[in-house]
Symmetry: C2
Subunit: 433 residues, 2 copies
Amino acid sequence: MDHTKFTLDENEMPKKWYNILADMGPMDPPLNPATNEPIKPEELEPLFAKELIKQEMSTKRYLDIPEEVLDIYKLWRPSPLYRAHRLEKVLDTPAKIYYKHEGVSPAGSHKPNTSIAQTYYNMKEGTERITTETGAGQWGSALSLACNYFDIECKVYMVRSSFEQKPYRKSLINLWGASVIPSPSQDTQFGRKILEDFPDTSGSLGIAISEAVEDAALHDNTKYALGSVLNHVMLHQTVIGLEAQKQFEMAEDYPDVVIGCCGGGSNLAGVSFPFIKDKIDGKHDPKIIAVEPSACPTLNSGEFKYDYGDMAKMTPLLKMYTLGYDFIPPAIHAGGLRYHGCSPLVSKLVADGMMDATTYHQVEVFEAGVTFARSEGIAAAPESNHAIKCAIDEALKCKESGEEKTILFNLSGHGHFDMFSYDKYFKGELSNE
Amino acid sequence: MDHTKFTLDENEMPKKWYNILADMGPMDPPLNPATNEPIKPEELEPLFAKELIKQEMSTKRYLDIPEEVLDIYKLWRPSPLYRAHRLEKVLDTPAKIYYKHEGVSPAGSHKPNTSIAQTYYNMKEGTERITTETGAGQWGSALSLACNYFDIECKVYMVRSSFEQKPYRKSLINLWGASVIPSPSQDTQFGRKILEDFPDTSGSLGIAISEAVEDAALHDNTKYALGSVLNHVMLHQTVIGLEAQKQFEMAEDYPDVVIGCCGGGSNLAGVSFPFIKDKIDGKHDPKIIAVEPSACPTLNSGEFKYDYGDMAKMTPLLKMYTLGYDFIPPAIHAGGLRYHGCSPLVSKLVADGMMDATTYHQVEVFEAGVTFARSEGIAAAPESNHAIKCAIDEALKCKESGEEKTILFNLSGHGHFDMFSYDKYFKGELSNE
């Protein structure tokens, strides 16, 4: 059998992130929600470290990864690139399927790639406390891990439906020293208002963001951190695709299709942007696919327009695909994909035809996850199962056409804290909302 | 900073297991429980595949790992050897601490090293169904994963206290297609008897083994698999230590101390036997330490004598340290270490002074686990926290003495399915039973 996994030594890790802004046309700027005017960098300073604001707007093509960030990355990076021999065999496909396994990080997903970076810059600038929201809990755990390393207090507002489904995500967040409460909460003005109006709400990322932003704005030495959507987050995640490119060189192969699940867009951006650079440079022409849940089809059915990132309209207006800032998606089991908006970078790439988007219902998504677990061994996160489902479909198309395509998908995280959802799938209790 | 982790390419994986029986004096043979006479290989055939019985008794020094087993190992092996820079810094010790991370397997522990091998040989001999017991759930998941690969039906009797504490271990076992019930159960004669006499029992490995053995004995084409204790299990686990030796060559270092937690003994044997060979050969003289919970101190306080491996006295009598075949340990949170006996090989090495043994209470063990999670990032299994606690103590001794010892411990598994126990620790609800 050919190689099963392509591993790089930690010294072969990329030393720079790739900034796709350098290779895209001018972007519509974020707008101040109070004035509707393009936001000035200093207006973002109450929420973000200055260096992150600089990165948000930078058009420099490659940005150095600080030594201290690299040192922490080394705890799990470079992540392995797998050739899914066993999945290929089960599907009986001529396609070659590869996946990048981001579930090997201590927090269990790709999220620490940016939480470590964001927290590092905050530490450098004296931040003492960081607030955030979390959907599935992957981001909340990743930020807790990062704040632990830089001795920063951390408070996580966790979307209530996830909070209740995943008590042990909460335990993991606590283990690294952060505190976590269900959102909407009594701890913010906005949370209290929502609870009054909709006492039974399952919550949403839009609400939780409002709470975290309000908390950061009202407390001294407190900043806010976002786990997706923004340019600097996409930037930090490109370490995934940059590593994958080195690993494809080892494999003497190159992907025809690159797939990522898409909520705010960060893992998709991470795996695909370096390959999109090859596309822009005219070197290769891979098809890039964003996979969304049918229950929250932002790129597939949303409008491409300016919208708020949160429900309380406190964040800057971003030009992006959106289902509306007050959209509350059904409580599907891929909590990380329940966001009304999407990264402006990913949105523009879709609008420009550089990226495709597709949707799946959650039952077929879990079915794909079970096929994957029984072939490749790994219990994947419900979010990642979306990418798996799409990779399987692409491979089955090859089976029909006889094409020997090379397919890459990002396995954004493991599902060890999502077994409740697998149980529901096996009991036939998952709906296709 | 020096290297954080030493990774081998999958082609550098050891191709043979190391059989320590070749380098130890003659062992007291297992006895037939009916006759008290040394058991004949064919008397074990109702329970085990012939090839495994051969391995159990073999005195050949190196045994080939079959190609198909290697191919599955490649899904996660070679596992990384970490240098615990951050833990060293927190402890402010001159010692160098390394750990082998066996939690990277799909099942989350070292157990698949033997489950894959055992299931492979069973498949070769036509076994259609395998029964087993599981304590913490690590072994049950590992066997489920393995049976999935070789298309063998699998039934797991899970010690009731673990079954109740860890619902999601059960989900993982189901995900790979096995069935799992709490032990004692209504499914066996012995289980029903225990439930009649002790309806509130938290169960024990000794009871669960009896149930699995009874089930295997009474069903056609069904064999039994044990996740620890037996010689062939220790054999399969030596891939851990053999890899570690290659990785220490990369690190240009060699351990002065090798540590593993010890229930039945398999992860300790796996990491240490290749180093004990160096001891026997007079090449090196590392100290080997078996770490047990105070609640179940088999090597520390048990008697070295012939005893049954299970409560119903169905298994062969083994010469080992034992707390008595009917010992039911308190329901501590390291379910994998709740066994009355221990591997005859490990027992003899302790009796011969080749290995030391020590104990810790569970509160200090979890405290060590939290220190580890906050320095190295990884949420470890409660069992592994015993090894971590011992490594920390050894490093702190070096701090006092100024010695720059090299310490290796085996991180036998992650704790993603044990967060309930961490919650109890943080709430101050863990007793030191």
